[in-house]
């Protein structure tokens, strides 16, 4: 089986040597045909889970969903993305839908359920049927107006498909597109784990299914939120980088890496946090290929970065000439750093405690134990507008399996340390991706703190790193040795299933009981 797996691995997936005359469609079909069936099944599990969440969670109860919907609506109605602004103005049509759906009554209010009675349903239907203007909003200018337009351009397809329906019909179709993106993410997580851990094929599905059943991931991917596309782009990026490390960087792979990075950058500003890691990874691969640092070494990294940046330059040009937006959306967003000059010590203190715990003698910006209170809690489950939570003891007990998984994965890494030494460049590149994204999110939160006194600590912002979580689960499955791997792997998946299932029940109880 191991030999067979190795043969599978040696078959090219990206950068396949196909005759130039073959059409692009045939090439794509060929690529898809080489994706193992297990990856498709895991992806389907991801799609179905996210679809379940897309129906269970009431409309607009996924964080910022009303803003993402508003951006899409603006894009469709005006033919261009909105510009960042000081306030959010939603269209009359969306406001009517929000009123009918009890959006403001439910938001942040766990004591209030969704639409339960026939009279509420009638009220909602009446409001949705009213002819209301869809073009008088500003596309949620404050919340997301400055963001890049790719996700919203994609969401314009289901929005237009449901043209004759109500706002609720449009939102439901848009949610289904997000659910499909969850499948893409899981597919690439599988491929990443397969590429990064070729010696343990029995754990590839464990990693992918662990992600596919992760409730916080399915919850966000079941809503209209640009994070869904960022997760998929990032998972593709991780896969392509792992492939480059395993098989060497080629022209085609450099273009593919650049394309995945471009999709991320055109989706959400947060993708910027991944770029230092991508640059380091490309350079490391190229140095390995050229056996040293020469001018030629920079050729393929430069090609990849050029592909990644090209759409940004196009957007900048359109922003200035056609769309009447600031050249760089980030400079006008909530997270612009202009006019802020915090002391370096305070900035570092904030970055540290954003993820861990405040050090003695420093200002406490967040909770007493942010690692647990924000990140473990968020990972275990914090649904809706952070108003759907388990009982407190669940978050305490959850530390046990999480710590066990980390220890088991650590044990595998220690046992494989000789092999790891040979892949140190690759590992450092993944570490750079992690550190870069985490630093970016923490800095964005610090800017938010300085500007508005708030924090943006939500675990979904770290989900572009889900491929590494998948790899961690795969490593954990081998943590007790080869003999116990089948038992551990199956146990991890059952645990993930239980986590997902009870989270869905929690959300059902939150909104409908």
């Amino acid at each position: 089986m191991a030999a067979q797996s190795q043969r599978q691995l040696n078959r090219p997936l990206a950068g396949a040597a196909k005759p130039q005359s073959a059409g692009a469609l045939a090439q794509l079909r060929g690529l898809l045909a080489r994706v193992p069936r297990a990856a498709w099944v895991c992806a389907l599990v991801g799609v179905l889970n996210a679809t379940a969440w897309a129906i269970v969670v009431p409309a607009f109860q996924v964080p910022d969903e009303q803003s993402h919907y508003a951006y899409t609506e603006y894009l469709v109605q005006h033919g261009r993305p909105p510009a960042a602004g000081a306030v959010d103005v939603l269209s009359s049509s969306e406001n009517a839908a929000l009123a009918g759906l009890k959006f403001r009554e439910m938001q942040f209010s766990p004591e209030n359920g969704a639409i339960w009675s026939a009279s509420e349903q009638t009220h909602m239907t009446d409001l949705l049927k009213q002819a209301a203007d869809r073009s008088d909003g500003n596309g949620a200018a404050r919340e997301v107006g400055g963001e890049p337009p790719l996700f919203y351009a994609l969401q314009a397809i289901p929005y237009n498909l449901a043209e004759g329906g109500s706002a609720l019909d449009r939102l439901q179709l848009m949610r289904l597109l997000s659910a499909l993106l969850a499948g893409v993410t899981v597919l690439f997580v599988y491929l990443f784990v397969r590429e990064a851990l070729p010696a343990i094929p029995e754990t590839w599905a464990v990693g992918a299914l662990g992600v596919a059943f992760l409730p916080s991931f399915d919850f966000i991917s079941g809503g209209v939120n640009s994070d869904a596309l960022l997760f998929a782009a990032s998972a593709a990026l991780f896969y392509l980088l792992a492939r480059g490390f395993q098989r060497g960087l080629t022209d085609r792979l450099a273009v593919a890496i650049g394309t995945a990075a471009a999709v991320g950058l055109m989706t959400k500003f947060n993708a910027i946090g991944l770029m230092p890691g991508v640059a380091i990874a490309l350079l490391t691969m190229s140095v390995g290929r050229e056996r040293g640092l020469r001018p030629r070494t920079l050729a393929l990294p430069a090609l990849a970065l050029a592909v990644a940046v090209a759409p940004i330059l196009l957007e900048v040009a359109l922003n200035i000439t056609v769309w009447d937006r600031p050249a760089f959306g980030a400079t006008a967003s909530n997270y612009r750093a202009s006019a802020l000059h915090p002391p370096l010590g305070e900035t570092l203190s904030y970055l540290w405690q954003f993820y861990l715990v405040p050090l003695p003698g420093t200002t406490h910006y967040l909770t007493p134990l942010p690692f647990h209170d924000l990140w473990v809690r968020g990972f275990v489950g914090w649904f809706g507008w952070l108003d759907g939570a388990f009982r407190p003891r669940v978050y305490v007990l959850a530390v046990v399996p999480l710590a066990a998984l980390a220890l088991l994965a650590g044990r595998t890494l220690v046992a494989q340390r000789r092999r790891l030494r040979a892949r140190i460049g690759e590992l450092l590149s993944y570490a750079a991706l992690v550190v870069g994204l985490m630093a970016f999110i923490a800095l964005a939160s610090y800017i938010s703190y300085l500007r508005y006194g708030g924090s943006i600590a939500q675990v979904r912002y770290l989900f572009p790193l889900l491929p590494l979580y998948g790899a961690l689960l795969a490593l954990a499955a081998r943590g007790a040795g080869r003999r116990w791997a089948p038992v551990l792997g199956a146990s991890i998946v059952v645990l993930a299933i239980a986590h997902g299932l009870f989270s869905q029940l929690l959300v059902l109880a939150r909104y409908y009981a």
Binding site: E111, W116, L168, Q172, V493, V494, Q504
Partner: protein
Amino acid sequence: MDASQGVRHGLRDGSRERRGQRRLTLAIGLAVLAVSLVATLSHATERRTGTNGLPARVLFGIAPGRATICQQGERIPSGTAAIRISLLVSSQTTPRLAVELSRGDVVRATGAAGARWDRASATWYSGSAVRIPLAPTLRGDVVGDICIRLLAGRSEQYGLLGIPTALGEGATEDGRSLAGRLHVEYLAAGDHSWWSFAPTLVGRIGRGHAWSGPSVGLLVALLMLTPIALGAWQLSRNDS
């Protein structure tokens, strides 16, 4: 049998053994999960017939220990046998209050005895929630008024939690307008398991979506269970 055939047989046997272990673990794990699920869904607890839709977000008034707080135009669902309101309290002694639900001049239900603090239902921003049983249980939806007579000592005070409103649209305290309305939850009689509550739950899930009806609830159940079956099937099949 040559050496290479022996190795292949060995690999096949090993693979079969691992698959068997995986299937057994999956079977045990899923059985344990099913038992946990059945136990959870069999647990009986109180069920809400509805709420007045107002969040318990703001402290909009302080009422003295002896006062009557009234709220007009409440839609109280059929089957309501108790109400719960969120209050900030100065002490946790047994609450002394009485409730009256009326429509026009007709009293539809009253409650006084058995009121108790309900800490489990207290939200993080509310100090306490108080649950007051009503008699008789409402047999149909009622649009009417709720009056809560506070009967505590004069030294006690109650913080009223709900949302701010314009004067004239809010609750009243001894006939005087307050600048807010109370969050109120309506509860069914007794405790119910999820099984007995399932038809109500399916009915509620069938509302507020792009299409309506029991098919929404059935689709949700299907979408919750199919990925589990698919994931287990994939994991039990092969090594990659």
